[in-house]
Amino acid sequence: MRERLNMSILKIPTPLRSYTNGQAEVTVNGGTVASAMTSLIEQYPALKPHLFSEGGDLRAFVNLFLGEHNIKDLQGLETPLGESDRLILIPSIAGG
Protein backbone atom coordinates (compact mmCIF):
# COMPACT_ATOMS: atom_id res chain seq x y z
CA MET A 1 0.00 0.00 0.00
CA ARG A 2 1.26 3.44 -0.84
CA GLU A 3 2.25 5.56 2.16
CA ARG A 4 -0.08 8.49 2.70
CA LEU A 5 1.47 11.80 1.78
CA ASN A 6 1.18 13.84 4.95
CA MET A 7 2.53 17.34 5.11
CA SER A 8 4.26 18.14 8.41
CA ILE A 9 6.11 21.20 9.58
CA LEU A 10 9.67 20.76 10.83
CA LYS A 11 11.11 23.56 12.92
CA ILE A 12 14.81 24.22 12.29
CA PRO A 13 17.00 25.67 15.07
CA THR A 14 19.28 28.60 14.17
CA PRO A 15 22.53 26.58 14.19
CA LEU A 16 21.14 24.51 11.29
CA ARG A 17 19.44 27.29 9.35
CA SER A 18 22.57 27.96 7.33
CA TYR A 19 21.84 24.60 5.68
CA THR A 20 18.18 25.42 4.90
CA ASN A 21 18.73 28.77 3.17
CA GLY A 22 17.77 30.47 6.41
CA GLN A 23 14.34 28.78 6.54
CA ALA A 24 13.00 28.54 10.10
CA GLU A 25 10.36 25.97 9.17
CA VAL A 26 10.40 23.40 6.40
CA THR A 27 7.39 21.52 5.07
CA VAL A 28 8.18 17.82 4.87
CA ASN A 29 6.17 14.97 3.35
CA GLY A 30 5.73 11.48 4.70
CA GLY A 31 3.64 9.15 6.77
CA THR A 32 6.43 8.46 9.27
CA VAL A 33 9.20 10.46 10.91
CA ALA A 34 11.72 8.52 8.77
CA SER A 35 10.07 9.47 5.48
CA ALA A 36 9.64 13.07 6.65
CA MET A 37 13.38 13.20 7.37
CA THR A 38 14.11 11.72 3.93
CA SER A 39 11.99 14.51 2.47
CA LEU A 40 13.98 17.06 4.50
CA ILE A 41 17.33 15.69 3.29
CA GLU A 42 16.09 15.65 -0.33
CA GLN A 43 15.30 19.35 -0.02
CA TYR A 44 18.48 20.25 1.91
CA PRO A 45 21.19 17.58 1.34
CA ALA A 46 23.80 19.60 3.29
CA LEU A 47 21.89 18.85 6.51
CA LYS A 48 22.49 15.12 6.25
CA PRO A 49 25.87 14.83 8.02
CA HIS A 50 24.54 16.99 10.87
CA LEU A 51 21.58 14.73 11.54
CA PHE A 52 22.51 11.22 10.46
CA SER A 53 25.51 8.97 11.07
CA GLU A 54 27.16 7.21 8.13
CA GLY A 55 25.12 4.13 9.06
CA GLY A 56 21.91 6.11 8.54
CA ASP A 57 20.86 6.40 12.19
CA LEU A 58 19.83 9.66 13.77
CA ARG A 59 22.94 10.94 15.56
CA ALA A 60 22.93 10.46 19.35
CA PHE A 61 23.12 14.20 20.09
CA VAL A 62 20.21 15.03 17.76
CA ASN A 63 16.84 15.16 19.44
CA LEU A 64 13.71 15.17 17.35
CA PHE A 65 10.40 15.93 19.01
CA LEU A 66 6.92 15.34 17.62
CA GLY A 67 4.84 17.97 19.32
CA GLU A 68 6.10 17.83 22.89
CA HIS A 69 7.28 14.22 22.81
CA ASN A 70 10.76 12.92 22.02
CA ILE A 71 10.43 10.42 19.16
CA LYS A 72 12.73 8.16 21.25
CA ASP A 73 9.80 7.89 23.71
CA LEU A 74 7.42 7.09 20.80
CA GLN A 75 8.35 4.67 18.02
CA GLY A 76 11.58 6.36 16.98
CA LEU A 77 11.96 6.95 13.26
CA GLU A 78 8.97 4.66 12.66
CA THR A 79 6.63 7.01 14.56
CA PRO A 80 3.62 7.69 12.32
CA LEU A 81 2.81 11.27 11.40
CA GLY A 82 -0.65 12.78 11.08
CA GLU A 83 -1.70 15.64 8.84
CA SER A 84 -0.02 18.95 9.86
CA ASP A 85 1.99 17.45 12.72
CA ARG A 86 4.79 19.62 14.05
CA LEU A 87 8.32 18.30 14.41
CA ILE A 88 11.03 20.20 16.31
CA LEU A 89 14.75 19.56 15.98
CA ILE A 90 16.52 20.30 19.24
CA PRO A 91 20.17 21.16 18.84
CA SER A 92 22.95 20.52 21.27
CA ILE A 93 24.23 24.01 22.09
CA ALA A 94 26.66 25.00 24.80
CA GLY A 95 27.05 28.78 24.71
CA GLY A 96 26.77 30.83 27.86
Partner: protein, 383 residues
Protein backbone atom coordinates in the same frame (compact mmCIF):
# COMPACT_ATOMS: atom_id res chain seq x y z
CA UNK B 1 15.86 27.56 61.95
CA UNK B 2 15.45 30.23 59.32
CA UNK B 3 17.47 33.42 59.81
CA UNK B 4 15.55 36.54 60.74
CA UNK B 5 15.38 39.76 58.74
CA UNK B 6 16.67 43.10 59.98
CA UNK B 7 14.59 46.28 59.81
CA UNK B 8 16.64 47.34 56.74
CA UNK B 9 16.11 43.98 55.07
CA UNK B 10 12.36 44.15 55.59
CA UNK B 11 12.32 47.44 53.70
CA UNK B 12 14.70 46.17 51.01
CA UNK B 13 12.60 43.08 50.31
CA UNK B 14 9.24 44.81 50.77
CA UNK B 15 8.03 43.90 47.25
CA UNK B 16 8.75 40.23 47.95
CA UNK B 17 7.09 40.32 51.36
CA UNK B 18 3.93 41.59 49.71
CA UNK B 19 3.62 38.47 47.52
CA UNK B 20 1.85 35.73 49.49
CA UNK B 21 3.90 33.01 47.73
CA UNK B 22 7.10 34.55 49.14
CA UNK B 23 6.17 36.54 52.22
CA UNK B 24 8.33 36.89 55.31
CA UNK B 25 8.94 33.15 55.56
CA UNK B 26 9.97 32.86 51.91
CA UNK B 27 12.36 35.78 52.22
CA UNK B 28 13.90 34.19 55.31
CA UNK B 29 14.23 30.96 53.31
CA UNK B 30 16.12 32.83 50.59
CA UNK B 31 18.38 34.41 53.20
CA UNK B 32 19.17 30.94 54.55
CA UNK B 33 19.76 29.43 51.11
CA UNK B 34 22.72 29.23 48.77
CA UNK B 35 23.35 29.00 45.04
CA UNK B 36 26.47 28.21 43.03
CA UNK B 37 26.77 30.05 39.71
CA UNK B 38 29.19 28.35 37.34
CA UNK B 39 30.48 30.97 34.93
CA UNK B 40 30.11 34.72 35.28
CA UNK B 41 29.62 35.40 31.59
CA UNK B 42 26.50 36.02 29.53
CA UNK B 43 24.20 33.72 31.54
CA UNK B 44 25.98 34.13 34.87
CA UNK B 45 25.61 37.94 34.73
CA UNK B 46 21.82 38.19 35.06
CA UNK B 47 21.67 35.07 37.26
CA UNK B 48 24.14 36.50 39.79
CA UNK B 49 22.61 39.99 39.71
CA UNK B 50 19.03 38.81 40.26
CA UNK B 51 19.90 36.22 42.91
CA UNK B 52 21.89 38.90 44.76
CA UNK B 53 19.04 41.38 44.46
CA UNK B 54 16.54 38.75 45.60
CA UNK B 55 18.51 38.17 48.78
CA UNK B 56 19.83 34.63 48.32
CA UNK B 57 22.05 34.55 51.40
CA UNK B 58 25.16 32.93 50.01
CA UNK B 59 26.14 32.94 46.34
CA UNK B 60 29.22 31.21 44.96
CA UNK B 61 30.83 32.31 41.70
CA UNK B 62 33.17 30.10 39.66
CA UNK B 63 35.22 31.60 36.83
CA UNK B 64 38.91 31.95 36.07
CA UNK B 65 38.74 34.50 33.30
CA UNK B 66 39.37 38.24 33.24
CA UNK B 67 36.93 40.82 31.85
CA UNK B 68 37.58 41.60 28.20
CA UNK B 69 35.97 44.40 26.23
CA UNK B 70 34.36 41.82 23.86
CA UNK B 71 32.42 40.49 26.90
CA UNK B 72 30.54 43.71 27.58
CA UNK B 73 28.07 43.39 24.68
CA UNK B 74 26.21 40.86 26.90
CA UNK B 75 27.95 40.32 30.27
CA UNK B 76 26.17 43.16 32.02
CA UNK B 77 27.45 42.41 35.52
CA UNK B 78 30.85 43.74 34.43
CA UNK B 79 31.69 47.29 33.37
CA UNK B 80 34.21 49.13 31.24
CA UNK B 81 36.25 50.03 34.32
CA UNK B 82 36.46 46.30 35.10
CA UNK B 83 38.32 45.37 31.90
CA UNK B 84 41.37 43.32 32.88
CA UNK B 85 39.98 42.49 36.35
CA UNK B 86 39.17 38.95 37.46
CA UNK B 87 35.57 38.22 36.47
CA UNK B 88 34.68 36.76 39.88
CA UNK B 89 35.94 39.91 41.62
CA UNK B 90 34.29 42.27 39.16
CA UNK B 91 30.99 40.35 39.59
CA UNK B 92 31.31 40.19 43.38
CA UNK B 93 31.87 43.96 43.62
CA UNK B 94 28.75 44.66 41.56
CA UNK B 95 26.63 42.16 43.54
CA UNK B 96 27.71 43.58 46.92
CA UNK B 97 26.99 47.08 45.66
CA UNK B 98 23.50 45.88 44.72
CA UNK B 99 23.04 44.03 48.00
CA UNK B 100 25.60 44.31 50.82
CA UNK B 101 23.57 41.95 53.05
CA UNK B 102 24.53 38.79 51.15
CA UNK B 103 27.71 36.72 51.15
CA UNK B 104 29.53 36.18 47.87
CA UNK B 105 32.16 33.43 47.72
CA UNK B 106 34.49 33.49 44.76
CA UNK B 107 36.36 30.59 43.19
CA UNK B 108 38.91 32.02 40.78
CA UNK B 109 39.65 28.68 39.14
CA UNK B 110 38.36 26.56 36.26
CA UNK B 111 35.56 24.17 37.33
CA UNK B 112 37.20 20.75 36.92
CA UNK B 113 36.77 17.12 37.97
CA UNK B 114 39.35 17.79 40.70
CA UNK B 115 37.63 20.69 42.46
CA UNK B 116 33.97 20.45 41.39
CA UNK B 117 32.62 18.23 44.19
CA UNK B 118 34.46 20.23 46.86
CA UNK B 119 33.16 23.55 45.51
CA UNK B 120 29.57 22.44 44.86
CA UNK B 121 28.81 20.32 47.92
CA UNK B 122 27.76 23.15 50.24
CA UNK B 123 25.27 24.84 47.90
CA UNK B 124 21.53 24.19 47.59
CA UNK B 125 21.28 24.67 43.82
CA UNK B 126 23.79 24.66 41.00
CA UNK B 127 23.33 27.01 38.08
CA UNK B 128 24.90 26.12 34.76
CA UNK B 129 26.13 29.28 33.10
CA UNK B 130 29.09 27.65 31.38
CA UNK B 131 30.07 28.13 27.75
CA UNK B 132 31.34 24.72 26.64
CA UNK B 133 30.31 21.06 26.45
CA UNK B 134 32.91 19.53 28.84
CA UNK B 135 31.93 21.86 31.71
CA UNK B 136 28.22 21.25 31.02
CA UNK B 137 28.63 17.47 31.34
CA UNK B 138 30.77 18.02 34.45
CA UNK B 139 28.15 20.33 35.99
CA UNK B 140 25.44 17.77 35.28
CA UNK B 141 27.34 14.84 36.75
CA UNK B 142 28.32 16.80 39.88
CA UNK B 143 24.65 17.76 40.37
CA UNK B 144 23.53 14.13 39.96
CA UNK B 145 26.19 12.79 42.35
CA UNK B 146 25.41 15.44 44.98
CA UNK B 147 21.62 15.09 44.51
CA UNK B 148 21.19 18.80 43.74
CA UNK B 149 19.06 20.57 41.13
CA UNK B 150 20.98 21.80 38.08
CA UNK B 151 19.38 24.95 36.70
CA UNK B 152 20.36 24.67 33.05
CA UNK B 153 20.51 27.38 30.42
CA UNK B 154 22.31 27.36 27.09
CA UNK B 155 22.50 29.77 24.16
CA UNK B 156 23.68 30.12 20.59
CA UNK B 157 23.07 33.05 18.24
CA UNK B 158 19.26 33.45 18.64
CA UNK B 159 18.41 30.12 20.30
CA UNK B 160 18.14 29.44 24.00
CA UNK B 161 17.25 26.44 26.15
CA UNK B 162 16.22 26.29 29.80
CA UNK B 163 15.45 23.32 32.05
CA UNK B 164 15.82 22.13 35.62
CA UNK B 165 17.73 18.87 35.59
CA UNK B 166 17.09 17.19 38.93
CA UNK B 167 17.80 13.48 38.83
CA UNK B 168 15.95 12.83 42.10
CA UNK B 169 12.70 13.96 40.51
CA UNK B 170 13.23 13.83 36.75
CA UNK B 171 15.72 13.55 33.92
CA UNK B 172 19.27 14.88 33.89
CA UNK B 173 21.16 16.61 31.08
CA UNK B 174 22.61 13.30 29.92
CA UNK B 175 19.12 11.76 29.63
CA UNK B 176 18.50 14.28 26.83
CA UNK B 177 22.03 14.53 25.46
CA UNK B 178 23.74 11.17 26.12
CA UNK B 179 26.66 12.19 23.94
CA UNK B 180 28.19 15.52 22.96
CA UNK B 181 28.30 16.45 19.28
CA UNK B 182 31.54 15.62 17.51
CA UNK B 183 34.20 18.31 17.98
CA UNK B 184 33.79 21.18 15.55
CA UNK B 185 30.24 20.40 14.42
CA UNK B 186 28.55 22.89 16.73
CA UNK B 187 30.25 26.28 16.74
CA UNK B 188 30.75 28.04 20.06
CA UNK B 189 29.65 31.64 20.72
CA UNK B 190 33.28 32.80 20.28
CA UNK B 191 33.16 31.32 16.78
CA UNK B 192 29.51 31.73 15.83
CA UNK B 193 28.44 34.77 17.82
CA UNK B 194 25.40 35.42 20.00
CA UNK B 195 22.80 38.16 20.22
CA UNK B 196 23.82 40.11 23.33
CA UNK B 197 20.39 40.24 24.92
CA UNK B 198 19.79 36.48 24.49
CA UNK B 199 21.72 35.42 27.62
CA UNK B 200 19.78 38.17 29.43
CA UNK B 201 16.52 36.44 28.57
CA UNK B 202 17.76 32.92 29.27
CA UNK B 203 19.77 33.81 32.40
CA UNK B 204 16.79 35.66 33.85
CA UNK B 205 14.67 32.55 33.31
CA UNK B 206 17.35 30.47 35.06
CA UNK B 207 17.31 32.91 38.00
CA UNK B 208 13.51 32.60 38.12
CA UNK B 209 13.71 28.81 38.24
CA UNK B 210 16.45 28.93 40.91
CA UNK B 211 14.32 31.19 43.13
CA UNK B 212 11.25 28.95 42.67
CA UNK B 213 13.27 25.85 43.60
CA UNK B 214 14.79 27.58 46.65
CA UNK B 215 11.38 28.84 47.76
CA UNK B 216 9.60 25.59 46.91
CA UNK B 217 6.90 27.39 44.96
CA UNK B 218 5.33 27.08 41.53
CA UNK B 219 6.03 24.52 38.87
CA UNK B 220 9.73 24.37 38.00
CA UNK B 221 10.94 23.08 34.61
CA UNK B 222 11.69 19.58 35.91
CA UNK B 223 11.01 17.12 33.07
CA UNK B 224 10.42 20.01 30.69
CA UNK B 225 12.65 21.89 28.30
CA UNK B 226 11.94 25.42 27.17
CA UNK B 227 13.15 26.32 23.69
CA UNK B 228 13.32 30.02 22.93
CA UNK B 229 14.03 31.59 19.58
CA UNK B 230 14.56 35.34 19.61
CA UNK B 231 14.20 35.77 15.83
CA UNK B 232 10.80 34.07 15.74
CA UNK B 233 9.97 35.23 19.31
CA UNK B 234 8.81 31.67 19.89
CA UNK B 235 8.66 29.68 23.11
CA UNK B 236 8.24 25.91 22.71
CA UNK B 237 7.96 23.49 25.60
CA UNK B 238 8.77 19.81 25.26
CA UNK B 239 8.52 16.99 27.78
CA UNK B 240 11.62 15.19 28.91
CA UNK B 241 11.65 11.74 30.40
CA UNK B 242 14.28 9.97 32.42
CA UNK B 243 16.34 7.85 30.05
CA UNK B 244 16.43 4.27 31.42
CA UNK B 245 19.82 3.87 29.71
CA UNK B 246 21.27 7.06 31.25
CA UNK B 247 24.87 6.40 32.23
CA UNK B 248 24.78 8.64 35.32
CA UNK B 249 21.21 8.59 36.64
CA UNK B 250 19.69 5.44 35.10
CA UNK B 251 19.12 2.18 37.01
CA UNK B 252 22.20 0.64 35.39
CA UNK B 253 24.39 3.72 35.53
CA UNK B 254 28.03 2.87 34.95
CA UNK B 255 29.51 6.32 35.52
CA UNK B 256 29.90 6.53 39.29
CA UNK B 257 32.48 9.26 39.58
CA UNK B 258 33.64 12.29 37.65
CA UNK B 259 35.50 11.52 34.43
CA UNK B 260 37.82 13.41 32.07
CA UNK B 261 35.25 15.64 30.36
CA UNK B 262 37.62 17.22 27.86
CA UNK B 263 38.48 13.74 26.63
CA UNK B 264 34.78 12.73 26.61
CA UNK B 265 33.85 15.75 24.47
CA UNK B 266 37.06 15.99 22.47
CA UNK B 267 37.25 19.75 23.00
CA UNK B 268 38.79 22.02 25.63
CA UNK B 269 36.75 23.11 28.65
CA UNK B 270 36.66 26.76 27.67
CA UNK B 271 35.40 28.92 24.83
CA UNK B 272 38.44 30.88 23.77
CA UNK B 273 39.06 30.87 20.08
CA UNK B 274 42.83 30.56 20.19
CA UNK B 275 43.07 27.47 18.10
CA UNK B 276 46.19 25.53 17.36
CA UNK B 277 46.45 22.63 14.94
CA UNK B 278 49.14 20.95 17.06
CA UNK B 279 52.91 20.71 16.93
CA UNK B 280 54.37 21.15 13.46
CA UNK B 281 51.13 22.30 11.85
CA UNK B 282 51.06 25.89 13.12
CA UNK B 283 52.65 29.04 11.79
CA UNK B 284 52.66 32.24 13.85
CA UNK B 285 51.60 35.58 12.39
CA UNK B 286 55.19 36.90 12.56
CA UNK B 287 56.55 33.80 10.80
CA UNK B 288 53.90 34.13 8.13
CA UNK B 289 54.83 37.78 7.64
CA UNK B 290 58.47 36.77 6.99
CA UNK B 291 57.44 33.97 4.61
CA UNK B 292 55.09 36.01 2.45
CA UNK B 293 57.90 38.54 1.89
CA UNK B 294 60.02 35.95 0.09
CA UNK B 295 57.81 33.02 -0.96
CA UNK B 296 54.58 32.55 -2.81
CA UNK B 297 51.97 31.17 -0.45
CA UNK B 298 48.31 30.46 -0.97
CA UNK B 299 46.18 31.99 1.81
CA UNK B 300 42.91 30.20 2.51
CA UNK B 301 40.38 32.09 4.65
CA UNK B 302 37.74 29.68 6.04
CA UNK B 303 35.59 32.32 7.77
CA UNK B 304 32.01 33.20 6.84
CA UNK B 305 31.68 35.85 4.09
CA UNK B 306 30.22 38.50 6.46
CA UNK B 307 33.37 38.33 8.59
CA UNK B 308 35.44 39.57 5.64
CA UNK B 309 33.80 42.95 6.06
CA UNK B 310 35.54 43.24 9.44
CA UNK B 311 39.06 42.29 8.38
CA UNK B 312 40.77 40.47 5.55
CA UNK B 313 44.19 39.58 4.20
CA UNK B 314 45.05 40.62 0.65
CA UNK B 315 44.96 37.83 -1.97
CA UNK B 316 43.35 35.33 0.42
CA UNK B 317 40.80 32.95 -1.08
CA UNK B 318 37.60 32.58 0.94
CA UNK B 319 35.96 29.16 1.30
CA UNK B 320 33.85 28.95 4.49
CA UNK B 321 34.65 25.88 6.57
CA UNK B 322 31.16 24.44 6.02
CA UNK B 323 31.72 24.44 2.24
CA UNK B 324 35.32 23.27 2.20
CA UNK B 325 34.66 19.53 1.86
CA UNK B 326 32.63 20.15 -1.30
CA UNK B 327 35.07 22.64 -2.83
CA UNK B 328 38.44 20.88 -2.49
CA UNK B 329 38.72 20.74 -6.30
CA UNK B 330 39.31 24.51 -6.27
CA UNK B 331 42.57 23.98 -4.35
CA UNK B 332 45.93 22.63 -5.50
CA UNK B 333 47.56 20.22 -3.04
CA UNK B 334 50.98 20.88 -4.61
CA UNK B 335 50.88 24.51 -3.51
CA UNK B 336 52.15 25.77 -0.14
CA UNK B 337 49.10 26.95 1.76
CA UNK B 338 48.26 28.68 5.04
CA UNK B 339 44.72 28.34 6.39
CA UNK B 340 43.25 30.94 8.73
CA UNK B 341 40.03 32.02 10.43
CA UNK B 342 39.24 34.48 13.23
CA UNK B 343 41.22 32.80 16.01
CA UNK B 344 42.58 29.51 14.68
CA UNK B 345 39.92 26.99 15.75
CA UNK B 346 37.97 26.68 12.53
CA UNK B 347 41.16 26.73 10.47
CA UNK B 348 42.54 23.88 12.60
CA UNK B 349 39.43 21.86 11.62
CA UNK B 350 39.95 22.89 8.00
CA UNK B 351 43.56 21.75 8.19
CA UNK B 352 42.49 18.33 9.51
CA UNK B 353 40.07 18.04 6.61
CA UNK B 354 42.73 19.08 4.07
CA UNK B 355 45.32 16.69 5.48
CA UNK B 356 42.86 13.80 5.41
CA UNK B 357 42.18 14.69 1.76
CA UNK B 358 45.89 14.33 0.95
CA UNK B 359 47.11 17.93 1.28
CA UNK B 360 50.55 17.92 2.87
CA UNK B 361 51.89 21.45 2.41
CA UNK B 362 49.40 23.21 4.69
CA UNK B 363 49.85 25.21 7.88
CA UNK B 364 47.40 26.76 10.32
CA UNK B 365 47.76 30.44 11.21
CA UNK B 366 47.95 30.22 15.01
CA UNK B 367 45.59 32.71 16.64
CA UNK B 368 44.01 33.48 13.26
CA UNK B 369 43.63 36.86 11.60
CA UNK B 370 43.29 38.35 15.09
CA UNK B 371 46.91 37.35 15.80
CA UNK B 372 47.92 39.01 12.50
CA UNK B 373 46.03 42.14 13.58
CA UNK B 374 47.81 42.16 16.96
CA UNK B 375 51.34 41.25 15.86
CA UNK B 376 51.76 42.32 12.23
CA UNK B 377 49.20 44.83 10.96
CA UNK B 378 47.88 47.11 13.69
CA UNK B 379 45.59 48.79 11.17
CA UNK B 380 43.40 45.68 11.16
CA UNK B 381 40.80 45.45 13.94
CA UNK B 382 40.68 42.55 16.41
CA UNK B 383 37.19 41.09 16.89
Amino acid sequence: MLPGLTREEILRYSRHLLIPEVGLEGQRKLKGSSALVIGTGGLGSPVALYLAAAGVGRIGLVDYDVVDSSNLQRQVIHGTNGIGKLKVESARDRMLDLNPDIEVEVYNEPFTSENAMRIAKDYDVIIDGTDNFPTRYLTNDVSVFLGKPNIYGSIFRFDGQVSVFYAKEGPCYRCLFPEPPPPGLVPSCAEGGVLGVLPGTIGTLQATEALKVLLGIGDPLIGKLLLYNALDMSFDFVKLKKNPKCRVCGPNADIKELIDYEEFCGVPGHDHEEGSAGTGWDITASELYERVKTNHLKLLDVREPHELEISKLPNAVNIPLGQLAGRLAELDSAEDMVVFCKGGTRSARALELLVSAGFKKVKNLKGGINAWAKDVDMNLPVY
